[in-house]
Subunit: 131 residues, 2 copies
Amino acid sequence: MTRENHNLGRILKQQRISIPLTLQELSSTSGVSSSHLGRIERAERFPSAHILRRIAKPLGFDEDELFTLAGFLSPHSSGVAEERSSSYSGRHLDPFVAKMLAEESVEVQRATLGILTMLKSIARGMAREHD
Amino acid sequence: MTRENHNLGRILKQQRISIPLTLQELSSTSGVSSSHLGRIERAERFPSAHILRRIAKPLGFDEDELFTLAGFLSPHSSGVAEERSSSYSGRHLDPFVAKMLAEESVEVQRATLGILTMLKSIARGMAREHD
DNA sequence: ATTATAATTCGCCAAATGGCAAATGTCAAT
DNA sequence: ATTGACATTTGCCATTTGGCGAATTATAAT
């Protein structure tokens, strides 16, 4: 979008200037073309998540911080604030299962999970037919 | 990018199926066209941050969780069932798989592993018949 | 002032995103 | 088999993104 959060550019430029960096320097440390960076700063372009990610550290931002500023992430609990491992607390992964599964490629791990999901869905269907 | 994290589609589809939702339903609750959703699932398109954000809640993901899966955010703090401390023979357990499996009872976890072992043994047998 | 040099902006283009509508696939009920 | 109701996939197109190189605009240094 050409303009939607027209502050982001300002913020980015502020940060860059205050470091201080030139567009070209930021370009070479981030791998994003300086022309594109310029356009982002003056809000002619809106950075994609990829771009945002690449410029975060060079500018001294946390990734999620920038994402929040960009409106990609809701102003959520970024960073430190929270640690309760959300939703489910009681459950844990059996260490033996974890160890065995970890020997497989991620592909196989995922496929395995997929099979489990399938079986569950089938089971749900069967349960439904019963009543 | 047409394909870069070619697992994301799988994950999204798994999650959608397991809810269960159709593409159209997800489309109407997320406001993303079903055709686009379909292409994302089969990795013909890669979702932008905006899209990802809109489908996160309908699919029961935390926003940052999905962003991490998509590779937009580096696997930061919020890691669920992981521990880089232990063993880990070069291989590691995919965080998403770990998370999903951890929701099951240990019995189911073990049974799942059992099924995988069976399948591997069957596959080995088939491979042998070939020579 | 006049160059030289670095920094920013502009013009143009290739590639990717995402929507809409039509085509195709799937499946149950007649 | 045929129909009808959904679900998914495909074709097509408008819009955006982002890079490259040229033009322009600072910034110095003589």
